[in-house]
């Protein structure tokens, strides 16, 4: 068996190597920038520079400003970094020739200031090294202090002390519900079984949301480290990273990272010679949104049809193959190394009284800048929308922000100053959710928005329970009629009554929360629904005879 990695040694060597470079170009190779053409940019830069002792080309994860990708950040000794945006092949040639070549900024390529509020207002914990390091190099992560938290936990803390640290940090689940992580860890630690499991849930699927994808494809080792610390603290010996099949880059990088970590003895038998063993593998999802629900996710890992089952028993009592199992969202786990490294008190000091730490949001919709941000809990929606994302384009007005995906709700303009944390969003009839944040301007019809999300839930319903399987379909039929202008007051009444039943009686979170977009748009924008209704008992025109498809 190969000997364990010497973290300090690797970090030292790596930092020395970096110090040789006079100039470095950090090229975002996360999914969004790759989709915008980052691969060509990277090739071009490499071709222009060639083998060079003092200039480095580093493929990195996501710095966040996705709408302006491909992004290239040039760092030069003694200079403020320059962030080039919308870089194409010609732009890459110019950057390589001018800025990297002789240090004169490339004049024809668009830039944004490095202190743009989009960047400067962020507080990056989970994404601390995303966009700074090569996700495919373990050494890069180690040089930034990676795996030091794991070493600290293994060598200086008992498992119970690690659980206690997580509890004291106040970390809550980032997948949506906000369940206290420490409590879950404690339950798994106390559970007995032949094998205990820890699972990272990377089945993110809310429309517009890609926080977990970015964490996984930009900094895979952070997730692995978090999961390994969780395993040590709870006595789990086997872990799974459940990643949806639609995230091929994340899967590829996680698998490469797992192999590297195993070679370095950061995973596998006797991690860092501690005597503690932890085996980890990636399981690829089969394309169902409902597999993000933890009981369905476990069924999928076991190779069965991804159907939710009744709880209790909870996974920590009886999970994978009947054994105690703990499932955490990817972002939750990515917080763990920092909590151990910097202490639970530091983490508890971030954010608000009840919601500690930071939250990653995927900004989408009607904003001047969209992309990924990590902000402290408690920041207001106004700061995110107007200060960081540059407001609403083309002179239109902010109308609502949708958070929490299909399970969430719409927050109208009058609540722009509400702090974004678990409690406040819930009070507004929305939820934190996993971090999708879609902004809508005044051209958007809110009943249409509700119809969109209900269609999503209808399409993703597994079909096991009647209220969700049929209820979402009939909710959609009512919304169809209303949106097409042939709905009547009683359609709206039946829709609301049906929504109450679907929420109260569905088996799992998907169905229980499917009516949320309807409830929240009705709460804040009821007039828009009423404006679309037609009177009862008015003889329909030829176009609206009953049963005629709208």
């Amino acid at each position: 068996m190969a000997s364990a990695i010497d973290l300090d040694d690797v970090a030292h060597t790596e930092r020395e190597a970096r110090a040789r470079y006079v100039r470095r170009a950090l090229v975002c190779t996360s999914t969004a920038c790759l989709a915008a053409g980052a691969a060509v940019v990277r090739e071009r830069l490499t071709a222009v520079i060639g083998e060079h002792d003092e200039v480095g080309i580093v493929p990195t994860g996501c710095p966040g400003l996705c709408s302006r990708g491909p992004l290239v950040q040039v760092e030069a000794r003694g200079e403020e970094p320059t962030v080039y945006t919308h870089v194409d092949e010609a732009g890459a040639t110019a950057i390589g020739r001018d800025h990297l070549g002789d240090g004169t900024p490339a004049s024809d390529v668009a830039t944004v200031p490095a202190d743009l509020p989009f960047f400067s207002r962020q507080q990056r914990v989970v994404l601390a090294t995303a966009g700074r390091i090569d996700p495919d190099r373990l050494e890069d992560y180690v040089a930034e202090g990676g795996y030091a938290a794991l070493a600290t936990a293994l060598t200086t803390m008992t498992p119970a002390e690690v659980v206690d640290a997580i509890t004291r940090s106040g970390l809550r689940g980032r997948g949506g519900a906000g369940y206290p992580a420490g409590r879950k860890w404690g339950m798994l630690a106390e559970a007995t079984g032949d094998t205990k499991y820890v699972v990272a849930n990377g089945d993110e699927g809310d429309p517009g949301a890609y926080m977990d994808r970015t964490i996984m494809d930009s900094d895979p080792h952070r997730v692995i480290e978090g999961l390994t610390i969780a395993a040590y603290a709870t006595g789990a010996t086997k872990g799974y990273l459940y990643v949806r099949a639609e995230y091929p880059l994340a899967i590829e990088r996680l698998e490469r990272a797992i192999r590297a970590a195993k070679r370095a003895r950061l995973l596998g038998r006797s991690v860092l010679d501690s005597g503690v063993s932890f085996d980890l593998e990636v399981r690829v999802g089969a394309g169902a949104f409902v597999c993000g629900e933890e009981t369905a996710l476990m069924a999928s890992i076991e190779g069965r049809r991804g159907l939710p089952t009744l709880r209790p028993p909870y996974p920590t009592e009886r999970g994978l193959w009947g054994q105690p199992t703990m499932i955490h969202n990817v972002e939750t786990l990515a917080n763990v190394p920092a909590i151990i490294a910097r202490g639970p008190e530091w983490f508890a000091g971030l954010g608000t009284e009840t919601s500690h730490g930071t939250k990653v949001f995927a900004l989408a919709g009607s904003l001047n800048d969209t992309g990924l941000i990590e902000v402290p809990m408690g920041i207001t929606l106004r700061e995110i929308v107007f200060d960081m994302a540059g407001g609403i384009p083309e002179g239109r007005r902010f109308k609502a922000a949708q958070t929490g995906g299909p399970s969430g709700g719409c927050i109208p303009a009058r609540f722009l100053d509400t702090p974004v944390d678990y409690e406040h969003l819930q009070d507004l009839g929305s939820m934190m959710g996993s971090g999708g944040l879609v902004v809508m301007d005044d051209t958007v019809s809110m009943p249409e928005v509700a119809r969109f999300y209900v269609a999503f839930c209808r399409d993703e319903s597994c079909g096991k329970c009647a209220p969700c399987r049929v209820g979402t379909e009939k909710m959609h039929a009512f919304l169809d009629r209303i949106c097409e202008g042939v709905g009547r007051p009683r359609d709206l009444a039946h829709l609301e009554s049906l929504c109450r039943t679907v929420r109260a009686t569905s088996l799992c979170g998907l169905g229980q929360s499917a009516p949320n977009p309807v409830f929240s748009t009705l709460e804040h924008f009821r007039d828009e629904y009423l404006d679309l209704l037609v009177e009862e008992d008015v003889e329909p025109t030829r176009e609206e005879v009953p049963g005629e498809p709208a």
């Binding site: 009683r490 009862e536 008992d537 003889e539 329909p540 005879v545 009953p546 049963g547 005629e548 498809p549």
Partner: protein, 188 residues
């Protein structure tokens, strides 16, 4: 005839008239009914147009064609209480089986051209336009009381009528379905 008696109508839309047959099975109770209400419109009575100021209208059959739809709106405007009478009115029932054949033209072709042994041809004269789909009565107009059954038995009809006539005579609110037992509600 005195003028303070209730005015009752029965209507036959897209159905087989089985509910009206069941209505006739009320037998001698029809005399009691006749003592309390005038039948002002019915396939069983000689009346051309749907009259005004009707107190209670029983509607058999689903909305299947343009005439059904028009009559439904007329009777709704002229009736105090509308009863969806029998499964075809309540759910579409047998009348709605043609929905699954797709467009009315497909159904007509199947029924009048493919199926007959001799001289299959499409009807062309004096036939109301078929709606794209057969729908229950309550999707076209507001319905006050539902009386399911295929057909509802005479007993079930009688129990419902007694309650409704009592309420109409007394001028009280129309009783909701809570007064009925499972026997009064069963589909089929």
């Amino acid at each position: 005839m005195t003028t303070d008696r209730l005015r009752l109508a029965t209507v036959w839309l897209g159905g087989c008239s089985g509910c009206h047959m069941s209505f006739l099975d009320l037998d001698e109770w029809l005399f009691e009914l006749a003592a309390r209400a005038d039948v002002v419109f019915s396939p069983l009575a000689d009346a051309k147009g749907f009259p005004e100021d009707v107190d209670l209208t029983l509607v058999e059959g689903a909305i299947a064609n343009s005439d059904n739809l028009e009559l439904a709106h007329t009777l709704r405007a002229r009736s105090r209480v509308v009863v969806s009478f029998g499964d075809c009115a309540v759910t579409g029932n047998v009348t709605s089986l043609r929905n699954r054949l797709g467009e009315p033209a497909t159904m007509l072709e199947r029924v009048y051209v493919e199926q007959p042994d001799l001289d299959g041809q499409l009807p062309v004269e004096v036939v109301p336009t078929l709606l794209p789909q057969v729908r229950p009565l309550h999707e076209a107009i507001t319905v006050d009381v539902y009386l399911p059954g295929c057909p509802p038995s005479a007993d079930r009809i009688r129990r419902a009528l007694v309650h409704l006539l009592d309420a109409l005579e007394a001028g009280t609110e129309i009783p909701d379905l809570e007064w009925r037992g499972p026997d009064d509600l069963r589909f089929g």
